[in-house]
Symmetry: C2
């Protein structure tokens, strides 16, 4: 079914995601904070309509997607002056793809409900390449009815979409994902650093151990660039710090103990201090002296 949709935020994730909606035939209105990016999008997708504000984009749309940077950005785009909420129609569904706090998700669901609209928090994983190839994973929270309605359209850019519970649950699941990655990457960093310090060929060691109990996606996909200390790709440290900050903040409320995630967050602060804000998260290894 062809839908009228709005997509707010045309960053490295949102730009290709909105493109998939257009390619699937949906009548798509876009908005981006910096107009240059919207213009570039319109040039690439002549069928796209560029709106002057989030509210204007949202007006008349059955689904309003948001994919921006942080909680404060979501608040601006949805709840601020000319925000999407003002244009959100009764019966529409607001879908926030931003990785943000679970608290914000609960608040947004309440505000959407006041307008007779549904809401899903729906952070994604899979990175820029997943967005471009339409193979993202969507972790969703919200009412089952809103989820069922959104499911077909999310399939335009997601290979896997799962509802984890009420509003906020998608954000909480994304936090679990990032906590697991923090452990994998710190272990892998120490392992490769130890191999170098011990005089081993780290590539040969990875070849020997990469099929067994130490195997991980990160080992398979990042060991080579970690050994080369090449980090101009992937998921940036500043975003990982944002995500770990969300997890650590949530843990303060729910009482979870996260000693490793807290430590890795501090290690990433050191990577940032040495100029690595935009480096891939596997740059965690740079904290450890290269021998």
């Amino acid at each position: 079914m062809v839908e009228r949709v709005a997509f707010l935020g045309l960053g490295v994730m949102g730009f290709p995601m909105a493109g998939h909606l257009l390619r699937a035939g949906h009548a798509t209105t876009v908005w981006n904070r910096s107009p240059a990016r919207s213009d570039r999008f319109a040039a690439a997708h002549p069928a796209a309509v560029v709106a002057p504000s989030p509210a204007a984009a949202a007006r008349g749309a059955a689904f309003v997607f948001v994919c921006v940077g942080r909680d404060a950005d979501v608040r601006d785009v949805v709840l601020g002056k000319d925000g999407a909420l003002g244009g959100l129609g009764s019966g529409a569904v607001l879908v926030d793809h931003t990785t943000a706090s679970a608290e914000l998700a609960r608040e947004l669901e309440g505000r959407a409900r006041e307008r007779g609209a549904g809401f899903l928090d729906a952070p994604v994983s899979g990175g820029q390449s997943g967005a471009e190839q339409g193979t993202l994973t969507v972790m969703a929270g919200g009412e089952p009815a809103a989820f069922e309605r959104a499911l077909p359209i999310l399939g335009c850019y997601a290979r896997r979409t799962q509802r984890l519970g009420p509003a906020g649950s998608g954000q909480l699941a994304k936090m679990v994902n990032q906590i697991c990655i923090a452990g994998v990457l710190q272990g892998l960093s120490e392992g490769l650093h130890f191999a170098e310090a011990a005089g081993l060929d780290p590539l040969a060691v990875v070849e020997a151990i990469s099929q067994g109990a130490a195997q991980s996606w990160q080992m398979e996909n990042r060991h080579r660039t970690m050994i080369e200390r090449s980090f101009d790709h992937g998921f940036a440290v500043e975003w990982m710090r944002k995500d770990l900050g969300l997890a650590l903040g949530e843990a303060r409320r729910n009482g979870a103990q996260l000693p490793l995630a807290a430590l890795v967050d501090q290690f990433y602060a050191e990577v940032e201090a040495q100029g690595g804000r935009r480096w891939d998260t596997s740059s965690l290894i740079t904290r450890l002296r290269k021998t």
Copy 2:
């Protein structure tokens, strides 16, 4: 080619490994510290010869395999009274499958060389099931000539055998493996614990995230038993502590920094203190309160 071989140490790993040598037709003499275990082996493998001492087992063997617990056990079995070294013939190859220190490997190579014999340190990964199924990974250190000679016979129980460098390199590679696992398991423990504390269904979260950047062998193979807090299987905490101790000791010498491995070693000390010496390593999650 059928060889005369000796296998010293019929524990959970050595018992099935020696069995594979017999099934491949090699003339196999075995020895074990506790004779009951040798008797059980002989009952299961009528072609096996049980020797009264490591020296007697080694006499006339082209390959002498050792698979015991710790450095001190290897010293007893190889260098002690009636140890394997006394029976080691010129031209034989001593292969130590024990996970032990790199220093010991270098010492054993020197002692074997004095007798005109070769040496390989050859710790394995793959666990009891890998030993039983003959699908172990062998990480080897030593002279290329010794490695080439041993390679076909190691194939009786290994799916993958790799030489990483001179004597000690196999042990160092195994340490890298264990360091990586420590990170994966602590991250996974905190992730599942956080999911529980946040009120999510941890099984559903794993289903959502297990195909992406957080994926690991441990996540795939241990998440269910971690959620169930069932640890009567797998690789025991006391052995992981031994291995982390080897890595931390080696890091003192080579200057590597292992903040996470050091922390996880302490966490395992807490697991041991609550009675978990024999639990699987994934019991790291028990340090974190179950909500």
